[in-house]
């Protein structure tokens, strides 16, 4: 068994896919007769197959005796090559699914397949089978199913955030948003808002990862490290910002039907972890009381 240890990032895992694949080819080239039985533990004697290869996106807890370990150095060049191959041979939909799986962060439970390993074997399977991109439909295959679950987690959270994310207008006219997603949804959000608000300067800041997507009017966005973010600058809001926030709160409180108030349904639809970043919920606690600035309806 050959184990490739990758950094848990799109770059890291794609570089791992590249290295593992290259390793397998190299390994088989060195063989004098093209190999015999597959799946053997001893390297160099029998043909190396993809089943002999494992990727992991985390440092192994204990190293197995009969396994060889290879740390993977993330390389933009290698990961670009993998990305281009996937797009060209399997199409953008396949690529996006894999990309979403890469961005997922699901607490690893015992017995579950590692993210990097699931992606490697799904990619290998798709590239080698006539089904191609349709390999993703094979949900009864454990690696494919894992990619499906991971990818869905990111896609669902990103879809939520397309709606739940809020911008504030800063003094300098920049729209600023702070998010705390579980999965790394930032690239997906940045793309959406670049299309939606092409003429705005905006920043979406993932406070957990200290990463930001920065967009200047008329340009494409950039992902940037934001550990040195100017905390004072993001506190200074434009003069009309407070006014629009309170208009929004007034709307939010008045749009609920009192005879149907249902806090549990509300919390089921917008899970509480999103509340801190949406002013209408963090400031009103959900708005379950009769609106303060409202004409009382004749109920």
């Amino acid at each position: 068994m050959y184990t490739f240890i990758c950094e848990d990032s799109p770059n890291g895992i794609f570089s791992g896919v590249y290295d593992a694949w290259a390793f397998k080819i190299q390994q088989n080239k060195q063989m004098p007769d093209g190999g015999g039985q597959s799946g053997s533990r001893a390297a160099g004697q029998t043909r190396c197959t993809h089943d002999d290869i494992r990727l992991t996106s985390r440092e192994p807890d204990n190293y197995e005796l009969f396994s060889q370990y290879f740390p993977v150095t993330p390389s933009a060049e290698k990961s670009d090559k993998v990305a281009r191959t996937l797009c060209a041979r399997l199409g953008t939909e396949f690529y996006e699914t894999v990309m979403n799986a890469l961005l997922a962060v699901i607490p690893e439970r015992k017995g579950e397949i590692d993210k990097a390993d699931a992606i490697y074997h799904t990619v290998v399977l798709a590239l080698s089978s006539p089904a191609g991109a349709n390999t993703l439909h094979r949900l009864n295959h454990p690696h494919v199913h894992r990619v499906f679950t991971l990818s869905r987690a990111t896609a669902n959270e990103a879809h939520h955030l397309l709606g739940f994310l809020r911008f504030r207008e800063l003094e300098n006219g920049v729209l600023f948003s702070t998010i705390h997603p579980k999965n790394n949804a930032l690239p997906i959000l940045a793309e959406h808002f670049t299309d939606r608000l092409p003429q705005e300067n905006f920043i979406i800041y993932d406070e957990n990862r200290r990463q930001a997507a920065v967009h200047a009017a008329g340009k494409n966005f950039m992902l940037a490290d934001a550990s040195d973010l100017d905390e004072a600058m993001i506190k200074r809001e434009s003069c009309r910002e407070a006014e629009y926030q309170s208009l929004w709160l007034a709307f939010f409180e008045n749009i609920a039907i009192r005879a149907r108030v249902n806090p549990k349904l509300q919390a089921q639809n917008i899970p509480k972890r999103f509340w801190r970043d949406t002013i209408e919920l963090s400031r009103t606690g959900g708005g379950h009381f009769p609106p303060s600035h409202a004409p009382l309806p004749p109920e």
């Binding site: 709606g163 939606r196 208009l247 709307f251 749009i255 039907i257 009192r258 806090p263 309806p297 004749p298």
Partner: protein, 431 residues
């Protein structure tokens, strides 16, 4: 009337969002439109919810009335000319400002503009048109717009407005013409259905124009919708669903919405609902509506003159399956898509996944679970490679007892709203 001058924008917004809240359609779905690089906005076909209000409903659009002044007196409506509520009207500029500033901050997906009828239908429709025109042409707003067509307004105005909107709707209000006559004396089936037909025809023509010339302006690209109030008048579910079905078939509507009646006016013509609005009934109607639109069911398969109301204890698909045990069990690895859709516990997504996944290997029960099938509901109705999951009887009473024991049959949101007793109105509709 209680008209106030010099109101602040905040006061107007409070009044005119409060006045709009009984309109249920808040979806922003039905049209995919990329940003144009210059203006502001795009649109995502699946729709996006931006928040959920205290009643748990999705807030997607800035849902407001242009004005809550109204010359009519529909009995169920809190804005009718006899009710004593504070009145307000926006100006087109104010609506534009709110829409643009809310949209930039990602509070909303777009605008849902409805209105009371001020001065005359034409006058009101004119103001709505002007507002949309300014939003699209002056402010370059490229997000979602849902707009009401005012019954009785000049067709030319309706058409011009439709070229600026994504979705248009005219509320049917009540399922039957008699109900309308009694509760909304100034409206009639005729004044409602006529513009509905006009919009339908224009959408069809426009599809041809766009097919010929890709850049032709789009007319109501996300289609038409309507809404009916449920529980204010004594119709059975069967009549309501038949109306919905014919709206889908004959008027090509995209959506019919159902709104559980909330008694706001204490009008003598209206029922008192001690159990609160008929939420569970509304829920069953939505489920049945779903079966019509995505599951290839017809109303006559679900209900009949003899059995005119849905079983409130079971969702309509389970209920149907129980009465058609002769169709089951079906074999997961062979049944066609349409048959899979009819199995309780298999939704449209799971059915699609099954059809694709079984191409490479026969599926077993554990695969179905991974795919998202709700096995505790489906297990009575399916086999995998000829075997059932457990040995169970294919017996109506037995399965029915087990399914009703499943608490998910009564949706969590309704259970947890402390839905007390199923009120008279849910069961028999006896006023």
């Amino acid at each position: 009337m209680n008209i106030q001058m010099n109101m602040s924008l905040a006061e107007k917004l409070a009044i005119l969002s409060d006045a709009a809240k009984y309109d249920v359609a808040c979806t922003s779905s039905g049209v995919d439109r990329r940003g144009n690089g210059a203006g502001m906005g795009n649109s995502v076909a699946a729709g996006i919810c931006h928040t959920f209000s205290a009643d748990g409903r999705c807030v997607s659009l800035l849902k407001i009335l242009f004005t809550n002044e109204c010359i009519f007196n529909c009995a169920y409506c809190q804005n009718n000319c006899n009710s004593d509520v504070p009145r307000a009207s926006f100006t087109p500029d104010e609506v534009c400002e709110l829409t643009m500033e809310f949209y930039r901050r990602n509070y909303i997906e777009g605008l849902f503009l409805s209105s009371g009828i001020m001065v005359s239908p034409n006058y009101t429709m004119g103001l709505i048109y002007q507002t949309l025109y300014q939003l699209r042409r002056v402010h370059q707003f490229n997000g979602y717009i849902h707009v009401k067509a005012i019954p009785g307004a000049d067709p030319v105005l309706v058409e011009k407005t439709g070229f600026l909107a994504d979705r248009m709707s005219i509320n049917l209000e009540l399922p039957t013409a008699e109900g309308l006559k009694k509760l909304a004396p100034y409206k009639s089936r005729h004044t409602i259905l006529k513009p509905m037909r006009q919009i339908q025809n224009r959408i069809t023509e426009n599809k041809n124009e766009v097919a010929l010339y890709r850049k032709a302006p789009r007319f109501v690209p996300a289609g038409q919708s309507t809404q009916m109030i449920i529980g204010a008048t004594p119709e059975h579910d069967y009549e309501i669903m038949r109306v919905a079905e014919s709206l889908y078939q004959k008027f090509d509507l995209k959506r019919v919405f159902y709104s559980a009646f909330v008694n706001v006016n204490q009008d003598a013509n209206l029922p008192v609902l001690p159990g609160g609005p008929p939420l569970l009934r509304e829920h069953r109607l939505y489920q049945a509506d779903w079966l019509l639109r995505y599951y290839d069911f017809t109303v006559d398969e679900l209900l009949s003159e003899e059995r005119p109301d849905f079983n409130i204890y079971l969702d309509p698909k389970c209920d149907w399956a129980l009465r058609h045990l002769e169709c089951f069990p079906i074999e997961i690895n062979r049944a066609d898509y349409r048959t899979l859709l009819r199995v309780p516990g298999i939704g449209a997504k799971s059915a699609q996944r099954i059809v694709k996944a079984r191409r490479t290997a026969a599926l077993g029960f554990s695969d179905l679970k991974k795919i998202g099938v709700v096995l505790k509901r489906a297990l009575y109705f399916i086999t995998c490679s000829g075997k059932m999951m457990y040995r169970t009887k294919l017996d109506e009473d037995y399965i029915c007892r087990n399914l009703i024991g499943d608490r998910t049959q009564i949706p969590r949101e309704i259970r947890e709203a402390g839905y007390k007793q199923l009120s008279l109105f849910d069961i028999g509709m006896e006023p």
